[in-house]
Symmetry: C2
Subunit: 230 residues, 2 copies
């Protein structure tokens, strides 16, 4: 199994950030934007070399990510990004929709006009990323948009679950975006914002569900095949 040093997208590192936290965040980001191929064994020392650190922080980061189902520790103790099946993909999308619709419902009573303005700002930024065909930024901003909405509820307990789902879908989002183009994202967010302005729960739920299912509905057989063979 020959493999060269893995290239992981860089993230910013603050003064106070421990090495462990940096390793975790950088790996997390890499998974979110699909930079690590599923099924290829990752080694602790290899990742440590990529991150220019000793193995200890990498080990702890791997444990954190495995508990979020973003990485899988195989029976032979090797660490991989989990491979995907068609059925599992379908279950994840269904679960994602149910979870995010639930999160939005729990958040709606706490949504302020100011927050809606913020969401609109994020959405405008996303329009720019679309034009610039900056897929990585778009993925992260999309998450900002949704997270900002759901976290309106101060006792929101669902964010870790949603994050876990995103992490599991991340390796496959890249391919999905390549096939669809990226215009669907903008339309649904604007519908979400309209529903929020009028505090219309049922329209909100519909828009979010459509936002999520649009991504899948437009995938042809070829794209799904590519996702499953990646």
């Amino acid at each position: 199994m020959p493999h060269s040093r893995l290239i992981l997208p860089e993230i910013s590192k603050s003064k106070k950030m421990t090495t462990q936290e940096y390793a975790y965040q950088r790996l997390r980001h890499s998974l979110m934007v699909g930079s690590i191929a599923p099924g290829i064994p990752l080694t602790i020392r290899g990742l440590a070399a990529s991150l220019e650190t000793s193995p200890t922080p990498v080990r702890e980061a791997i444990r954190r990510l495995s508990s979020k189902n973003a990485l899988t520790i195989l029976e032979n103790r090797r660490c991989v990004v989990p491979v995907m099946t068609k059925e599992r993909f379908a279950e994840l999308i269904k679960f994602r929709a149910a979870t995010e619709v639930f999160a939005a419902e729990r958040a709606l009573p706490f949504v302020s006009d100011k927050l809606i303005d913020t969401l609109e700002t994020i959405d405008f930024s996303m329009d720019k990323a679309v034009i610039a065909k900056d897929r990585e930024t778009l993925i992260i901003q999309n998450q900002d948009f949704h997270t900002s909405l759901y976290m309106a509820n101060p006792d929101q307990v669902i964010i870790p679950t949603i994050e876990s789902i995103w992490l599991q879908l991340g390796p496959f989002l890249k391919i999905a975006l390549q096939h669809i183009g990226v215009f669907y994202v903008v339309d649904r967010h604007k519908e979400i914002i309209i529903a929020l302005r009028s505090r219309n729960l049922s329209a909100l739920k519909q828009a979010i569900s459509n936002d999520i299912h649009d991504a899948v509905g437009q995938l042809d057989e070829e794209a799904l095949k590519k996702i499953l063979s990646s």
Copy 2:
């Protein structure tokens, strides 16, 4: 902050189990059955002493459990079982019900008569634990019951989420069970089994939702206070 060595319930350890896995499973079990008080700082070296191991496996176990929201790493880097608020408790229960109802729905098409027999066997064992007032066994068997049902779906993606919710509620289940007695558990499981035998989805969802909400509905103000102050 004086503290003595924490007593953690024992679990069995197989030959192949790594020390890290043992530490993780034992801590996980301790959290599930409410053996660790919320808010009290846990130290790596303290837990390592309790588990009779070096700190490394404990550190990795803590990382895993923090990603499952069972433990919280505070700003000062101390590790605690998260304290509970009334609102957060309510959100967790709502989320738990939504999640488990969804899981049951995703599993129902895969449920066999043989599985229902298995669930019935687990339920009989739970009857025995009720009579023996063995709360710890009851908690674990209750989980077996639900997990067995949901995992009928071979592509079930929800189990880690449900596990995370159980881990978050675990420290407070002990108190809840002390206040309610334990008889409600048996009744709803029998309703679940009846719904399964007739493959009645709406009855199944109702029984599961009731199973979960019964636990809370019967808690008086005194019990909730105790949960929040524990």
